[in-house]
């Protein structure tokens, strides 16, 4: 996993609440391999391009000041719906490194953490302030620092965000979670032995 330490970059506002992962990447692209050369093009495909494949000028990421954005600042429940991790892969392929939101879809949130994309949760009023500033100053930057757990807005105001120490450490180091868990083999095997005695019917999974 790519580590995340700090990003100081252009941020783009996404104002509608409940942006679902079908909108982030439509289902017909899910069978494409992650290393497909045009994977970034699938991001927000049906709201970003018209039926002929031309860019829709009203979509935020098609507007000149936001084309280099590495941060999205969204409304509540961004990434709700389907568990498709390709939503995060498409954001990553396009160049997004962090999402700042009042709340995120639970599975999307988890998928961000698995891919070195920083999910930042801030109170709704703070996020609304950031989005307003991004509209007022298109192309303005936001500075994110995971080590200090701080967001510096376009106007220089600072916000502290919470993230649990386990996820923070994983993101900072980019550690592979499977490798970490394999280190718990003794505990897993002990659990399986105990469960096998206490709940033997669970392993009887053969018709």
């Amino acid at each position: 996993m790519q580590p995340f330490t700090r990003v100081d970059a252009v941020a783009a506002p996404v104002d509608l609440p409940n942006v679902d992962t079908d909108r982030i990447i439509p289902a017909r692209f899910l069978r494409k391999p992650r290393n497909a050369p045009d994977f970034a093009r699938f991001l927000f495909h049906d709201v970003r391009f018209d039926a002929d494949g031309a860019e829709k000028p009203e979509f935020v990421l098609n507007q000149a000041p936001y084309r280099g954005a590495k941060i999205l600042v969204t409304a509540e429940n961004f990434g709700c719906g389907s568990s498709r991790e390709m939503a995060v892969w498409a954001l990553d392929a396009w160049g997004i490194r962090a999402v700042i939101a009042p709340s995120l879809g639970d599975i999307f949130h988890q998928n961000c953490l698995q891919n070195g994309l920083l999910p930042v949760l801030l109170p709704p009023a703070s996020v609304a302030t950031l989005r307003r500033q991004l509209h007022e100053r298109p192309g303005a930057t936001i500075a994110l620092n995971l080590e200090t757990q701080t967001v510096i807005g376009p106007d220089g105001a600072g916000y502290r965000f919470e993230i649990d120490p386990f996820r923070k450490q994983m993101l900072l180091t980019g550690q592979d979670e499977i490798a970490l868990t394999l280190g718990y083999e003794v505990a897993i095997a002990a659990f399986e032995r105990r469960q096998g005695i206490e709940m033997p019917w669970l392993a009887a999974g053969r018709a």
């Binding site: 639970d106 599975i107 996820r167 499977i178 897993i188 999974g205």
Partner: protein, 458 residues
């Protein structure tokens, strides 16, 4: 109940309130192929092939044909190859037990009370109807479970949703969950597991409880649970993978200790009265945009200024609806009865009761949830009722719910659908989805418009 299931599956405590949680059942579908690919590349094996089960549902054509698109066909073939290599039970294309992963888990007795169950699909919440802790995960976590049979998880909060009273005639489990989502909102359950309780839920069959739990994710909750009871046990007894003999007696004794203790505390409580719930349809592009069928298309001008109003305007434009119009004036172009929400035998019976002796005036598909549901329905003659009424009787699969197998609606086509998501583009680019119960969808098929099923005579 959630607390008990959680506590029984903690393998190790990690930092920051994270625990390593053991997973008792891992269900796979074609979407698991990229995880299988990474597993193979790392030279690893599936740790517990006896706790891992696979089926093909997302990319199957329910016409019964083999996909001509090589990518779609390849998704099924790749799953078949990986499961064979790893030695995993696979309910494949020609297996009558094949079907939607959330239909066949319970049907086969793989889903049991008190277990942890995951699948790379957000509607895994369905299995919570049995008192299991069941939730959807992404592709990287699928690989993690394949390799270690565990997941690092932080404990969610628990919300209890209590529904009391008797449902009126024509009101179903689908209407209950749509009403719940409308109440708490599409993001209302974020960070929570929902425990469904109350006399309305207790009176429900397992098929109905699965419909309710299925759409927990549409309220933002990763998991929904119903306490196991005699209804649960009666459903499970004798299922192919359910415990037998001595194992059944021991399991039953353990399952009876799963429900929440009286006086258990919840982080949040929500209450609804069954008498407030009417047959419900959605009008917008979020499952929270739900109203009684007797209502009218809402007017954004009456909403407070801001994001909510903007979303309504956008949703109505996408849906092609006029504010103030009676919902029963909305004409539909086609009907889809199926999906992991509403494709079980009782769902098909409810739709057939409405279809019987009538005739569909728009194309209407009936897609059973599994090969076994299909067989059971045919044994009762439901297929003949549907066919006589001009409905199309199809093979099992996700079909038009998921929009990834080529079975989609066209631009601006309006679909009365028993599925779970009315998102923009969910059923095809530009397609317009109205969510409702199987009986309501069948009613829409025979009238060609959104219809209050209670107004169809006898």
């Amino acid at each position: 109940m959630f607390e008990k299931v959680w506590a029984r599956h903690v393998v190790a405590e990690g930092p920051g309130g994270h625990v390593l949680l053991y997973i008792d059942r891992h269900l796979l579908h074609e979407g698991s192929t990229s995880a299988f690919g990474r597993l193979a590349k790392a030279g690893r094996r599936v740790r517990r092939t006896d706790l891992t089960f696979a089926t093909a549902d997302h990319y199957i054509l329910t016409s019964g044909a083999v996909a001509t698109d090589p990518e779609i066909r390849g998704m099924v073939e790749t799953l078949s190859r990986h499961t064979a290599v790893q030695g995993i039970v696979y309910f494949g294309v020609d297996d009558p037990r094949r079907g939607i992963v959330h239909v066949i888990g319970p049907e086969q007795g793989l889903t049991l009370p008190g277990i942890t169950l995951v699948c790379g699909d957000s509607h895994t919440a369905t299995h919570g109807a049995f008192g299991a802790l069941a939730f959807g995960i992404g592709s990287t976590e699928v690989e993690h479970v394949m390799t270690t049979q565990t997941l690092w998880q932080r404990k969610p909060q628990v919300m209890r949703v209590t529904v009391e009273g008797r449902l009126a005639l024509g009101v179903t489990a689908k209407d209950v969950i749509l009403a719940i989502i409308a109440r708490i909102g599409a993001g209302g359950g974020v960070g929570h597991v929902i425990e469904y309780a109350g006399s309305t839920i207790r009176a429900m069959t397992m098929d109905e409880r699965m419909t309710v739990c299925n759409m927990s994710i549409e309220a933002g909750a990763r998991a929904g649970m119903v306490a196991p009871d005699e209804t649960t046990f009666a459903y499970l007894e004798g299922r192919p993978f359910a415990p037998r003999g001595d194992g059944w007696a021991r399991a039953l004794a353990a399952w009876k200790t799963t429900p929440s203790d009286p006086g258990a505390r919840f982080d949040r409580e929500v209450r609804l009265a069954a008498s407030e719930i009417a047959p419900t349809v959605t009008w917008g592009t979020s499952p929270q945009d739900a109203l009684p069928i007797t209502g009218r298309v809402p007017d954004p001008a009456e909403a407070a200024e801001g994001a909510r109003r903007d979303s309504m305007v956008r949703a109505l434009a996408y849906m092609g609806l006029t504010p103030g119009a009676p919902l029963t004036d909305v004409k539909v172009d086609r009907v889809f009865i199926g999906s992991c929400t509403n494709s079980r035998l009782e769902d098909l019976r409810a739709a057939a009761r409405v279809a019987k002796g009538r005739h569909a005036v728009v194309p209407a598909w009936v897609v059973p949830g599994s090969g076994l549901v299909k067989r059971a329905a045919e044994a009762e003659g439901l297929d003949r009722i549907f066919v006589a009424a001009g409905f199309e009787w199809r093979e099992a699969g996700c079909s038009m719910c998921v929009g990834m197998n080529g079975e989609t609606a066209g631009v601006a086509e309006r679909v009365a659908s028993t599925s779970n998501r009315n998102f923009e583009g969910r059923q095809g680019r530009g397609a317009r989805t109205h969510l409702m119960s199987p009986a309501m969808a069948a009613a829409a098929a025979v009238t060609g418009r959104l219809t209050d099923v209670r107004t169809l005579a006898g």
